[in-house]
């Protein structure tokens, strides 16, 4: 194998080595003596805040127009509107992540980040406290505010004019009509459409949660929790009095986003597809309690692309260990999060998210009407291995009571859900067998089918170089977009997988994705905002589970080792 650049093409396994010796292969890839320049997952941080380069091409780009802009949408400024603690930052980061992935040159502009950076060297005791009001009363507050907002405005203009930006996301209060009119005026003049997204929160629990989060933010390092909350509440109160909610009278295009997506109101929607796509995205965006886990599938005897095999004994040992490990990780986190809920009830008899079929039978009076779902299997009545949470208890209470809203029956609607996704290949769904046995929902998803390697299936780098020298050269130049004859490129794969990203956004609980490395690369690439040049080079080995957790400003990765019997060949 070549030691320069990416060598593992599409197939993680190189068929030149004996079957059954997968871990040895894996080790080779990860060994520290390797000159491989592949980015290591451990060092990867969420790329959502990285600047987009001028020649930046994004993972999911369907096609671009001559102007280099997608969807004939032209330039767009998205302006967040809302009081402090209404998840504006989370929204702007999520939109930036998604549109960047779609191929739109997007950048987010967070005023709070600007403020922190611009005042880093200043004496914080002298910082004008009424800066945080949309209308500061002191002249120091006013000038500081103007100074910072002007800088953001400048940068956004430059992003459009100099850096060929297509979409800027402006994260600031913007709670005054006058501010919004001003923005609309400036940007409309330069042929940039302005869309306002107003986040409104009326739900007391959500506000409390957000205030709590804010009091732990970078602004309050070294403060006592109480002092931080009270300071933040003051910011909130001052602005609440000034807040002018958006109405159709302003004649602006806006989306009202109420209680984190409980209700969306789209007004003056004349922007077409890109905005519709963002609305679709917002419909699915949820505040996540759980994590996304990635794992490779276990090994089978031949491990060739074309064979569709069940696991061999090593693969089975791997999947057993994987099952126990992920269940343990999920339970550990739930136990930690459950401090505000009733004590853990590991062996409670309430039906859990993992076995929705069981709840059906218990609904009063419907047995004769509803036959079992199209695919419900006769599942053993085993108790779920997952901790019961507040959400599962609440769900049990309301099920079957026609006078109240019924709990969601789709996957992942509740924060205590846990779903395993696999590809439709035997190898991958066989890896999920033990989850299924434990009563955890396992879903085969056609979109998770691995990247089609075309003519180079099961070939090593050197074999390809020999058989397809010209193609190989081309591929080295752009491994993300290049297609070997009859193969899919990573880009094709990403487009095919897009619906899954949105489903993933909607799921509030935990998801484990068991798939081929190519598929994991694309999903990871989305969640961590990797660039096209990184994605084909990401590595996922069978000795680690990847855990991605969500936070408003950026996502975080943790790698947990999988240790099982056969992995002894590693040492």
């Amino acid at each position: 194998m070549s030691s320069n650049g990416p060598t593992d093409l599409f197939n993680m396994e190189s068929p030149t080595m004996n079957a059954g010796n997968h871990m040895a292969r894996t080790r080779r890839r990860w060994s520290s003596t390797s000159k491989d320049k592949r980015p290591k997952l451990t060092e990867m941080t969420d790329g959502v805040h990285e600047e987009v380069e001028t020649d930046f091409i994004s993972p999911g780009q369907l096609y671009s127009t001559e102007s280099g802009r997608l969807f004939h949408a032209g330039k767009i400024l998205i302006v967040l509107v809302g009081l402090p603690a209404t998840s504006k930052t989370l929204l702007s980061v999520a939109i930036t992540r998604y549109t960047k992935w779609l191929g739109v040159r997007t950048s987010s502009f967070h005023v709070s980040e600007y403020r922190r950076k611009m005042t880093a060297c200043e004496d914080h005791n002298n910082f004008p406290t009424d800066y945080f009001s949309a209308k500061p009363k002191t002249s120091e507050g006013r000038s500081k505010r103007k100074q910072i907002l002007d800088k953001v405005l400048d940068d956004m203009l430059q992003f459009f004019n100099r850096d060929k930006g297509q979409l800027a996301v402006y994260d600031a209060l913007n709670i005054l009509v006058e501010e919004r009119v001003q923005l609309d005026k400036i940007f409309s003049k330069m042929n940039t459409k302005v869309l306002f997204i107003e986040s409104v929160m009326t739900d007391a629990d959500m506000i409390k949660h957000n205030v709590d989060m804010a009091s732990r933010s970078a602004d309050y390092v070294g403060w006592s929790q109480e002092a931080a909350v009270s300071d933040f509440m003051h910011r909130l109160k001052v602005n609440k009095q000034l807040y002018e909610e958006m109405t159709p009278k302003e004649q602006l295009s806006y989306v009202k986003y109420i209680n984190f997506g409980e209700r969306l109101i789209v007004n003056n929607n004349h922007f077409g597809y890109l905005i519709n796509k963002i609305v679709f995205f917002l419909m699915n965006l949820r505040d996540k309690k759980g994590c996304v886990y990635f794992a490779r599938c276990g090994t089978s005897d031949n491990d060739n692309y074309i064979d569709d095999e069940l696991l061999n004994s090593e693969g089975t040992a791997y999947s057993k260990t994987l099952t126990d490990l992920v269940v343990k990780l999920v339970n550990e986190r739930r136990a930690a999060q459950a401090t505000s809920y009733p004590p853990s009830m590991e062996h409670a008899t309430t039906p859990s998210a993992g076995s929705p079929t069981k709840t059906i039978g218990s609904i009063g009076g419907i047995e004769n009407i509803i036959s079992p779902g199209p695919s419900s299997r006769s599942m053993s009545p085993s108790l779920s291995p997952l901790l019961t949470t507040h959400a599962s208890l609440k769900r049990t209470e309301s099920t079957g009571n026609a006078s109240v809203r019924q709990p969601v029956s789709g996957d992942g609607g509740d924060e205590d859900s846990f779903v395993v996704w696999t590809a439709p290949r035997k190898r991958t769904f066989d890896t999920a067998r033990f989850f299924d046995e434990k009563g955890i929902s396992v879903r085969q998803r056609s979109q998770l089918q691995q990247l089609h390697p075309g003519v180079v299936a099961d070939m090593t780098g050197s074999e390809i170089r020999q058989s397809y020298p010209e193609e190989y050269k081309e591929w080295l130049k752009d491994p993300y977009h290049y297609r070997f004859p009859r193969s899919e490129s990573y880009h094709d794969l990403a487009v095919r997988m897009e619906p899954l990203l949105l489903e993933m956004e909607r799921m509030r609980g935990d998801i484990l994705v068991i798939g081929h490395e190519s598929v994991l690369r694309v999903l990871y690439g989305y969640l961590m905002a990797c660039s096209c040049s990184d994605i084909p080079r990401l590595c996922f080995s069978r000795d680690q589970v990847i855990e991605i957790s969500f936070s408003p400003f950026e996502n975080k990765v943790r790698r947990v080792p999988i240790v099982y019997e056969n992995s002894s060949c590693l040492k």
């Binding site: 969306l264 679709f280 695919s375 026609a402 998803r445 056609s446 909607r506």
Partner: protein, 448 residues
């Protein structure tokens, strides 16, 4: 274990309850949703209360719809009860997933009745209101209704319009719109003047969000979609499937003729050409003077290990696979390749894009074309893989509010037939005696 196309639909049942005055495009939206979801293999059906009512009152006048007309009210009540009854049975007996209740459902009382029934039966109700005060839009809709509604069969258009307006007036007297406050606990969508303002309330499943997104992308501007297979290829001549071969001399002739051929059908309209990434579609498009885009998703169904073989060779080498494919062609997945279902899944973004685009010419392959055609013409899954779509033929689709019109233009350039009937390894239209799907392109010009 089944493979799901959209979301996990296990144990998920959705009832889309349409809400709106007559002539607000409810039936158009209902039919589109059913078509889209059925195409994605999500079992869905529209229950149109008007059709139930017509059994007892085939051609009623506007007075029939007066809320104070007790006798008529009874008939209308019966119709709705029967429709909902049938819908519930359909959910239970046929494992339905998404039902559309296409009626005005104009009062809160009626909607609460449906809501309660849904909740009692573990069905998620989603109310979808089309609200419109744009006079032009309404008049355009009325024009469509008076020519297509069975209620006005044989009535002269002016009388029909006048009566219909009167009917709308009767409904307006009792109509209660969805209310942001009173209905806050429901899953509902309010579309105001098509999609000028959209209110989306408590959409809690991915499938529902998908339906809303789809509806938001619909437009009713007049436009055409042209479909063509690539010209005859070397592999076609050799009776081989798959591959990435060039065009035959006759195929190249078709490519040469295509610009003129398209112009005959399209006139001076501007259009965009979409091709697959394979050589034969690009060669076919090479002389076309329009903007061209390549889509990987338009590549031919991947035959896996059978790629590059003739049907005879497949029958010989993989006799069991050969038989299995004929038995369930839609679901059969070639070893290491794809099934028709897989193709449909990868085509979904293309369909969404097509819905919002205007004039598009698609040059693609037999199986892919069957799938796209099936979407626009509502061809059931059992039939679509068996449709005959000859080479060197241009199909023009004209999506209209209540149906898609098809015109088929045959280029006068001979080509081999690549059609393979059930139970044979021979290709050619004549090789199959019992092929009920051949008519799909030859006999019918519209679908319903």
């Amino acid at each position: 274990m089944p493979v799901y196309t959209v979301s996990n639909v296990q144990n998920l049942r959705i009832c889309v309850v349409m809400v709106g005055l007559p002539a607000r495009g409810k039936s158009f939206i209902s039919q589109k949703i059913v078509r889209y979801l059925s195409w994605l293999s999500i079992k869905s059906r529209c229950f149109n209360v008007g059709n139930y009512r017509r059994q007892d009152a085939p051609r009623p006048s506007a007075d029939f719809f007066d809320a104070s007309n007790e006798e008529a009210y009874k008939i209308r009540e019966q119709a709705v009860t029967q429709a909902v009854h049938d819908m519930m049975n359909w959910f239970a007996d046929e494992e339905g997933v998404v039902a559309i209740l296409d009626a005005t459902n104009s009062t809160r009382e009626r909607r609460n009745w449906i809501l309660k029934l849904c909740r009692e039966n573990s069905i998620e109700p989603m109310f979808l209101e089309s609200w419109c005060d744009d006079k032009d839009l309404i008049l355009r809709n009325i024009a469509d209704v008076k020519t297509s509604s069975p209620d006005y069969k044989g009535v002269n258009p002016e009388d029909a319009s006048a009566d219909f307006l009167k009917r709308i007036g009767k409904y307006e007297q009792v109509y209660q719109t969805l209310d942001a406050d009173k209905d806050r606990d429901l899953t509902f969508v309010r579309m105001i003047n098509i999609a000028e303002q959209v209110i989306i309330n408590r959409v809690e499943t991915y499938l529902e969000s998908r339906i809303v997104f789809y509806v938001m992308n619909l437009h009713i501007k007049p436009r055409y979609i042209w479909l063509s297979r690539h010209g005859e290829s070397i592999y076609n001549l050799e009776k081989k499937i798959g591959g990435d071969s060039s065009l035959s001399p006759r195929g190249l002739q078709y490519a040469k003729k295509l610009p003129e051929f398209v112009r005959e059908s399209a006139g001076d309209r501007d259009l965009t050409v979409w091709t697959s990434t394979l050589i034969r579609t690009q060669e076919t498009a090479q002389h076309l003077p329009y903007r061209q885009l390549q889509w990987k998703a338009l590549d031919e169904l991947d035959a896996g290990v059978c790629d590059g073989m003739t049907y005879e060779e497949i029958e010989e080498t993989f006799p069991e696979d050969f038989k299995a494919r004929d038995e369930d062609k839609y679901e059969y997945r070639y070893r290491g390749g794809e099934s028709y279902r897989d193709v449909v899944i990868r085509l979904e973004p293309i369909i969404m894009e097509l819905e919002r685009q205007e004039n598009i010419l698609i040059i693609t392959h037999q199986a892919v074309l069957r799938c796209i055609y099936a979407y626009f013409m509502n061809v059931p899954q059992e039939e679509s893989p068996w449709m005959s779509i000859p080479l060197h033929t241009l199909i023009r689709l004209e999506p209209r509010a209540y149906a898609t019109h098809v015109t088929r233009l045959k280029a006068d350039i001979p080509a081999v037939s690549t059609y393979k009937g059930k139970g044979t390894s021979q290709v050619g239209e004549n090789s199959s005696e019992t092929n009920k799907s051949l008519h799909v392109l030859t006999d019918s010009n519209t679908n319903n």
